[in-house]
Amino acid sequence: MALSPRQRRRWSRGAQYAVFVAVVVLVAVKADWAQLQNQFAQGDLAGQLFPDIITVALRNTVIYTLAGFVVGLALGVLIALMRLSSVGPYRWFATVYVELFRGLPAVIVFILIGVAIPLAFPTAVIPGGTTGKVALALGLVAAAYMAETIRAGIQAVPRGQVEAARSLGFSHAKAMRSIVIPQAFRIVIPPMANELVLLFKDSSLVLFFGVTIAERELTAFGRNLASESANSTPILVSGLCYLLLTIPLGFLARWLEARGARSR
């Protein structure tokens, strides 16, 4: 029996739906829901997490992440400009920096900052306490990724934009500042939002510094309370709190992107 192309597409789509439904049903039937609920969804335990999970843990997550993002952004712009510099040593330094911090796991950078710096410079104090250390560690890692993104964004700005600026009498630096970088930032909004989401999650690595009760962020808070209560509900609630941050961020990024598209 020969099927027409239209009929073949219909059959193929039908089969894809069937597989999807079968997998969902299988997982739903096989999972031990009672056990899961017992371990992860204790309503009264979840209630006890409030308000601290918001006023302390979520707040700290946001502070650590934003501090890291700001340091990473400033450093990332600097490294990106160094990478595009006409001065050889700047380019080499920037390349080595990117390869180094992009290649190292964030955990190792945290451990290095937490352990190696105090050993090497016993009298050195990183300003800002735990927040300062997190900002430095997250910023060092994020800068490597951001530098590459920003460099690509700068190079994606059409050459004619720089030529027009230079022909009007802008110096190279002024053309970069007023014309190229603002347009590059519009181009890199989506990957930057992505980077911010990664930082929200990486801020949990603060636990490698050891944190006081007031310094706990979502993951440390969830783990602590889970072990105190011998139940994993706090972990689940912490996880939902991350989504509370990252999902609106996705919407914000799409909105900014659409707004930027209008003016281009």
Binding site: P158, Q161, A164, S167, L168, Q183, R262, S263
Partner: protein
């Protein structure tokens, strides 16, 4: 005509190579104050490169460029300063995509000349009115037609108060029905006495507005003379061949090896 006033632009022995490719091979050219000179020639003849060498967007390989008494090819020349006096209009307009039309015209004055915002915006609005875009000040470049974008780009260059304007194929990227408005702006600019060097394929503009027409081919100036003579009665075989193709493309024979 050029003997009556001091040259505003003087180009001597100008050469430019990109790697092994010699694009300009010793150009000599004078443009007197208030003169309008059109540069014509086949693609690849080096006419855009010549224009881009005059404000040093391209670094010449040899030769000198002097504009308004200042030698731009002097290694110690403050190019950013001299470029303020040399407006340039590009084939692709190159309006700043992240700025409104008003800011496109106002921001360069503020950043480069240090003009305060109120004066810069006043000058910007005056110049937008001059090119017929008074009502588009708040628009974004992407909302304008090509012809409107090009006129905004002309206003942006004029707002810096240049003594010389360079036009690099200003109408080549436009739909045919939009060419007229841009040429009209350029014509009124010429009538106001602006010194202009225009790379163009618009022969009627060259014939009617230009004082002089320069025909380039293969990186050299082949013919240089009064507009009516070069276009109406070219001396050189190569000029005649080029003009025949441009003025009546449907009648041109297929050259062997033509692309």
């Amino acid at each position: 005509m050029s003997t009556e006033t001091t040259p505003e632009i003087t180009v001597t022995g100008l050469s430019k190579s990109f790697g092994d490719l010699e694009v300009l091979r010793g150009i000599d050219l004078d443009v007197a104050k208030g003169q309008v000179v059109c540069v014509i020639g086949p693609s690849g003849s080096g006419k855009s490169t010549l224009l881009r060498c005059i404000n040093l967007l391209e670094q010449p390989s040899a030769g000198t460029v002097t504009v308004g008494g200042a030698e731009l090819t002097d290694p110690d020349c403050d190019l950013d300063r001299e470029r303020r006096r040399i407006g340039m209009v590009f084939q692709q307009f190159n309006l700043f995509g992240h700025l409104s039309v008003l800011d496109n015209v106002a921001l360069p004055q503020r950043r480069v000349l240090g003009t305060d915002r109120a004066s810069a915006e006043r000058v910007a609005r005056d110049n937008l009115a001059r090119v017929g875009l008074a009502d588009k000040a708040e628009a974004w470049p992407a909302q304008l037609s090509g012809g409107q974008q090009q006129r905004a780009a002309i206003a942006r260059a004029l707002a810096m108060g240049p003594e010389v304007m360079l036009f690099d194929e200003p109408t080549s990227a436009l739909d045919p029905e939009l060419v007229g408005d841009v040429l009209a702006v350029m014509r009124s600019l010429a009538e106001e006495g602006m010194t202009m060097l225009v790379v163009t394929h618009e022969m009627s503009f060259a014939r009617e507005v230009a004082n002089r027409v320069v025909f380039m081919d293969g990186g050299l100036v082949v013919e240089d003379g009064p507009a009516r003579q070069v276009i109406g009665d070219p001396r050189h075989e190569r000029t005649r061949g080029f003009l025949a193709r441009v003025l009546d493309p449907a009648a041109a024979p297929l050259e062997s090896g033509a692309d």
